[in-house]
């Protein structure tokens, strides 16, 4: 889901960069209010986890590859604003150091994976877990559902961003200037890959860690009864 340089027009990149600035500002303000000093090491671990889990490329035999993002897990444990910051740090370093995701596309990639993914995932999680006990199985299921919906909606956004390009930017003779595949190809490709395969990786990783942490330290799930 890391859109490289060249797939999105400079204008598209500018729009997403401009959209992310108030989101990052809001994230800093929210984290300032909610993150306590003792949680700071968990923010670092969350960012590290998101980065390393994205290195596990999962193959569709003979087809493409994809991976989990880990952003919904961080959102469940530290809140969606903290997850936004953790995943943003991972994405920026990935682009700068490893060329994974474009420098110009960093706003769009952060919008998909550091904003849409943790927020959608977090709200699905809170909706399903509701006030269930912090150690309950319902919380594990809610975490898995949040992970699935979060990553699939993020992939859908990436598909739409890709797919709008040939519609908006082409030469007089119809050749694409940036991403050559329209919505009819890009949206199903991005959505189906994640609905069928990569989304389930996010589900498994998220549910397993939530289950483990329920036993270790229920303070992460203090929204519910203990």
């Amino acid at each position: 889901m890391h859109i490289p340089d060249g797939y999105l027009s400079p204008a598209t990149c500018g729009v997403f960069g401009a959209v992310m600035i108030p989101i990052w500002t809001a994230a800093s303000k929210a984290v300032k209010k909610t993150l306590s000093v003792r949680q700071v090491p968990y923010l670092a671990i969350g960012a590290a986890f998101s980065f390393v889990i994205m290195m596990f490329n999962v193959p569709i035999p003979g087809g493409s590859t994809g991976h989990a993002v880990g952003g919904v897990l961080v959102a469940i444990l530290l809140g969606p604003w903290a997850a936004c910051i953790a995943v943003t740090v991972a994405l920026v370093i990935q682009a700068l150091l490893f060329g994974d995701g474009g420098i110009t596309a960093v706003g769009a990639n952060c919008f998909n994976m550091a904003f849409v993914l943790p927020f959608v995932g977090y709200y699905v999680y809170t909706l399903i877990s509701s006030d269930s006990p912090s150690g309950s199985g319902r919380r594990v299921i809610a975490a898995g559902a949040g992970a699935y919906v979060g990553i699939c909606v993020a992939a859908l956004c990436a598909g739409i961003e890709f797919g709008l390009q040939p519609l908006l930017y082409h030469t007089a003779n119809g050749q694409a200037l940036y991403c050559p595949y329209g919505l009819n190809v890009a949206v199903p490709a991005m959505a189906l890959g994640h609905l069928l395969v990569f989304g389930w990786v996010e589900v498994i990783v998220t549910a397993l860690v939530v289950k483990y942490l329920q036993k270790q330290n229920s303070v992460f799930f203090e929204g519910g009864r203990s």
Partner: protein
């Protein structure tokens, strides 16, 4: 053992296992992620390289391109796995450091 220590051990295990993200796609003959093709792949797929794509795609020269060392393209899977693990360690050191600093600056003191 503190929980943070246990979680860091978990991250360490993931670092060691990370080459699976290289080996499994190779074994199952899976290609790039959708929409992450390079210049030559695009040329092969659609018969031309979009003009804007050509201009932007090689804008940035990453120091560790695709989690490998520069000039290591096409090396054997064992070498690539080594580079992958080094990339994971370097990436995590920087990312955890930056996230920690941001957290330190933003976090409120415990009452």
């Amino acid at each position: 053992m503190t929980l943070t220590k246990k979680l860091w051990i978990g991250i360490g295990v993931l670092i060691v296992l990370s080459p699976l993200g290289l080996i499994l796609p190779d074994h199952f003959k899976a290609g790039s992620a959708w929409g992450e093709w390079g210049l030559e792949e695009i040329q092969k797929m659609i018969g031309y390289v979009p003009l804007g794509f050509q201009k932007l795609s090689e804008l940035w020269k990453a120091p560790l391109p695709d989690y490998a060392f520069q000039g290591w393209e096409g090396k054997d899977l064992f070498s690539m796995s080594f580079a992958y693990i080094i990339s994971a360690i370097v990436g995590i050191a920087i990312i955890a450091g930056v996230a920690f600093l941001i957290g330190k600056v933003l976090a409120k003191e415990d009452e």
